[in-house]
């Protein structure tokens, strides 16, 4: 579709992908309302499940960094979570602590035996599941530096990665940032730009400005207009593909709406039932 924003059915949202990279997607969401667009943004950031290390058991740590600090770093390492759906949440699982159904185990055992500094990378985490491994950019990338060891220092940890959402902790977020914009020409006048001399000079246009026509200064202001076109840039941390993030987020949103619908229906029915109950005479 093109930039004809004013037409279109708000109940028939459309997505036009402008670019798709390995770790980012740029798309235009149109024919929908602000609340929907923002819900999608919020869901992408906070409610798309991924895998992340959640439990770290220290067997040996003679490095200079504190246990909890290393544990925190391990937690933030993005893990490839394409098949996150195959896992259950630990809270829904039948196991006592963790099991294969709900978790992936990692081990990291490095000892520096030579003089100099031994750098420990995230790719040195050995996974129990070949599909869930630390993200590494490209073939020869060694991932993120976890810590550095000097001669004689050793790290030996056992980690458990679990499924989770960023609502609980930011480490489960698949997104690094979600760019979001509407109305690049400020036609709706939601924003009152401040400028010193020249608005054009001081406010460089965003790249989305080309998508829409510039406002005709002579045209009357449409105070009833609502935003309908939303420009998204989703940048991932590598745990999920960008398109997967959007799709999964949509699904999560649908599920939540479905659940809400169901709950409302149930509520409605119960109310109806209650009303009926009320009508019955006392026995």
């Amino acid at each position: 579709m093109n930039g004809s924003a004013h037409v279109g059915d708000p109940n028939n949202p459309q997505i036009r992908i402008r670019s798709l990279e390995k770790d980012s997607v740029d798309f235009v969401l149109s024919n929908t309302q602000l609340s929907v667009a923002n819900s999608l943004r919020r869901t992408m950031i906070a409610e798309v499940p991924t895998m992340a290390i959640d439990l770290v058991q220290f067997i040996e740590n003679t490095s200079v960094l504190a246990d909890e600090f290393i544990a925190h770093r391990l937690g933030l390492v993005p893990l490839i979570s394409h098949n996150v759906d195959e896992f259950k949440y630990t809270r829904d699982c039948t196991c006592a602590e963790y099991c294969k159904e709900c978790s992936v185990e990692f081990t990291l055992h490095v000892k520096c035996t030579e003089p100099g500094t031994r750098v420990v990378y995230s790719t040195e985490l050995i996974s129990s599941n070949k599909d869930v491994v630390p993200v590494a950019e490209g073939e020869d990338s060694r991932g993120i530096i976890l810590l550095k060891l000097r001669k004689g220092q050793e790290i030996n940890v056992h980690c458990v990665a679990k499924k989770g959402v960023a609502k609980e902790h930011a480490k489960w977020s698949p997104c690094a940032a979600v760019g979001f914009e509407y109305d690049p020409h400020n036609k709706l006048r939601h924003l009152d730009y401040w400028y010193e001399k020249d608005i054009k000079d001081e406010w460089p246009p965003t790249k989305n400005a080309d998508e829409e026509l510039e406002d005709d200064p002579g045209a009357p202001f449409d105070y009833k207009a609502e935003p309908t076109i939303f420009y998204f840039t989703v940048e991932t941390v590598g745990s999920l593909d960008p398109q997967a993030v959007v799709i999964k987020a949509t699904r999560v949103l649908q599920e939540k709406l479905g659940a809400l619908q169901l709950a409302l229906d149930e509520d409605q029915n119960r109310d109806n039932n209650a009303n009926m109950d009320e009508g019955e005479p006392w026995v």
Binding site: N38, R41, S173, A177, F180, H190, L191, W194, E202, P204
Partner: protein
Amino acid sequence: MSLLDRHSVFDGKGDHNHPLGTKITYWIDSLRLDHPSLSTRESKSANRLMYPTECRQRSITYRGRLTGLLHYQVDDGPVQVEERNFGLLPVMVRSNRCNLQMMKPAELIRMHEEPEEMGGYFVVNGNEKVVRLLVAQRRNHVLAIQRPSYGNRGPGFTKYATQIRCVRRDQTSQTITMHYLSTGNLLLRFPMRKQEYLVPVSLLMRALVGASDREIFEAVVGGDAENIFVRDRVELLLRSGKDYSVFTREQALAYLGDKFRVVMYAPEDMPNVDIGRLLLTRMVMVHLDDYRDKFNMLAHMVRKLYAVVSGECQEDNPDTQQMQEVYLPGHLYLGLIKEKVEDYLLGVRAEIGKDSRNGKVDLYNKRYLSRLFSRIGADIGQKAQYFLATGNLVSRSGMDMQQMTGFTIVAEKLNYLRYLSHFRCIHRGAFFTELKTTGVRKLLPEGWGFMCPVHTPDGSPCGLLNHLAHKCLLTITLEETEDVEKTLVRLGVVPDIPKPSLCDPNMLTVQLDGRVVGYCTESVAVRVAEALRILKLQRAAAGLEAKGPNIPYSMEIGYVPRSHGGQLPGLFLFTTPARFIRPVTHLATRQEDHIGSFEQVYMEIACLNEDVHPGITTHQEVLPTNILSVVANFTPFCDFNQAPRCIYQCQMGKQTMGTPMQSFPYRTDNKLYRLQTGQTPICRPRIHDDYGVDNYPNGTNAIVAVISYTGYDMEDAMILNKSAHERGFGYGSIYKTEYVDLGKFRKSGDPITTHFGVGRDMLTNETIYERIDIDGLPFPGVRVEEGDPLYAVIDDVRGRTKLIKYKGEAGFVETVRLLASQNPDEELQVVAFTFRIPRSPIIGDKFSSRHGQKGVCSQKFPAIDMPFTETGMQPDVIINPHAFPSRMTIGMFVESIAAKAGALHGVCQDSTPFQFNEANTAADYFGEQLRQAGYNYHGSEPMYSGVTGQEMRADIYIGVVYYQRLRHMVSDKYQVRTTGPINPLTHQPIKGRKRGGGIRLGEMERDALIAHGAAYFLQDRLMNCSDYSLAYVCKCCGSVLAPIAIPATSHLVDLSRPGPLDLVCRLCENADGITMVALPFVFRYLATELMSMNMKVRLDVK
């Protein structure tokens, strides 16, 4: 010149030929200080040297043995030499007696020190102690003083005086004051063993060189014979000297010697004349050896006094840096040691005196003598340690100091800046803290470039505790001045003899380190000053291969020109140690010149290029930032801020939780704060790298939006991004060390009955299995919470294992340090536990930017609720726009856009102040960078509400600001209770957070509650949660105290009556009116107190 005097004592066993008896003369020579080493009892180590890290970890003192050679001679016999042990003297780290002195960074790291360990402190009982710099009066320079209190000293005294603080070669000082009396007489005042003595000046002048009246007249009046005022005064002075009927030098000396014989501790066989000489040597103008020099200086002092009385010159202000220098720690320490050695010698004297009275003295007996010398306590090391540990100066003479306490401070390693500023701070003196007048606290222009104008604390020590500007130096060497003198003469200064000043009233005095070198005319003085400066610069430029006269690079050439009622004119040269100097550029040679605080006042120094006036300006500042202290220099763009905010930042920079050190595993400080996720600031001044601050980060670069969002950021609160926090923003820890000494209550010599270890009775105990090893100590890394068993001790007496519980906040055992006893082969009794307590930021923790903008975290919002920009950026921190209008911290705005531009372009920004001006503004410079990166010129961006997705009405100022986490955290401060510990007397809650006390709900709070009509709450606070009590009251007599419980058998009980059976009112002698009421317990206490004063409290109970 010997450090100490010889002492001579007689045994009093005299005969006809020698009425005083045998004489012993003894003195101490060549003190030696050894490198700190292990005690001889320790026999296992091959390396006998001791290093500071061991002292810190074992909580002992870093000290070396002090020995001295004691010489003595009985009558005219041979001189005997004996080595005396003066105990273990604390040694300054990295001094020339420290074992670390010549070490390079790699070696220092091996020694468990910082790679750039600076030293300069003492390790006393494991603490790092610094002798604080203290302001002193400029030495060897006569100050004219006008003080009303001088007029109250006695009859005839006026408010005028001149004063000089004379410093000996060994850096001990003696201040003498010359008072002007209304009779025309002059009295010289000097203290001796905390006693003050007044001596007529004419007497002293006569005693010094045997000056005749004419000579004194000429020395004072000089060529100024027309000056009737001075002439008259000198006449009065000479006339008043006639009262003593002293006419010759010998007479004068004998007169003085007679009066001072006792207080001088002079040997009994010494003639009065010699004692008089001794007095002059020890007390009058002690910086000069020659009596003629002393005389000249005294005459100068008289002349200056007359000048200030007649209004010819003004009095000097002792609060300006011009008239000040510093008590250096080394000089102070040396003075202390000197005095303690002297005390030892005096102790020997007293002991001989005591023995001779008892008839036990036998000076020809070697055994007696060696016993005598060892009988006197000579542990100087112990006394020096006491001085360093407490900061109290125990001194017989007072050491010419104004204060006796507060000399040392603990160098807290809170963060790098705090630590650094301990060594750069300079105190005005404890005396001034009490002073009602605030004149001394004033920031004076004389301090320009020497004292930092912004780095001083707020509140009571404001202006008294200053910090040196970061380029200010203190001279530390004793210079050779022979060449200076020769040069002066060569340049046209006429030496003193014969009186050239007699012919010309316009001759100016030329003084070198408080010695009158000669006289010259004004025009010659100007030339001399210029020539000297050139020679000095040439010498400094030539370095080691310098030929020509040796003019020290640090010499001050203070030419005071003649003026109407200004400072007394003259050419004053200073080369002494302990002065302030600082580098400036000499314009003619483009060379670095070091100038002092005395000469600076009379110099033409331009700040910037445009300030240079050709022909007038001689010097220029190297950099405008040179006037700021190290800490003040780290405030980015501080020239944009309102000045008080920079003062606040200097305080807050020092309270930041940062990286105090690299050597964490080897530190046992009581409490250490550490920011685990420190970053280097994007915006940093140029000196950031000079001081190596990158190794000691103090904060985090935060994305900061200035916006009022949800109201949680009002009143200096700030909102943190919860997701940023989860990613480690501001995450810090506290390291606490506790020492456990099992032998603490054991007397020395008693057998050891408690051992670390797990006994048989506990071996199978599962609760300790995972925490405590068989040796009774916890595994490092174990998590401990309040009440968890921490370590186990086997008690031989009870035959059982005792578990000792952990007290305090939940944390981890970082290190368990086993500390050996002082006695070899003694089993382990002392252990130091280091705990690591994680402190991730929580609501209530304090943060600040580097611009005196502090705030408390009020809420942590998840990322989805935070506002965001079009690119998806979310702030880590939200602060309220109201934080700016009244505080005017524009520097923070500039930092925000500068760091934002720096982050976008991937460069570090220079935030050195004074780089921009009206023509070339910071806003344009960084704004252009932002525009090139595709951002708004002014640093604003449109933002969207995270909750609704709606674009906000205004564009939001968002950028990157370096945020510091301050050490004030709620976890250390929160105080809450309903009921708890109470005061046994009043039953009211006790105060103090540590003891579980309450917060006082005081009168004003009570008033507020009454005004609100919150009656129930008031009742709850003041009664129910406080000292609620039930009391019996007798309705009949209204007393709360009269109803008492009595035994049932008492005759007072009337069993037929109703009411509580065992109660009776002692006044009414019945129980009729007794009822129970609720009362605050203090009321009962009040009634009792009043009763003790015969006052009755009557309650009207209905």
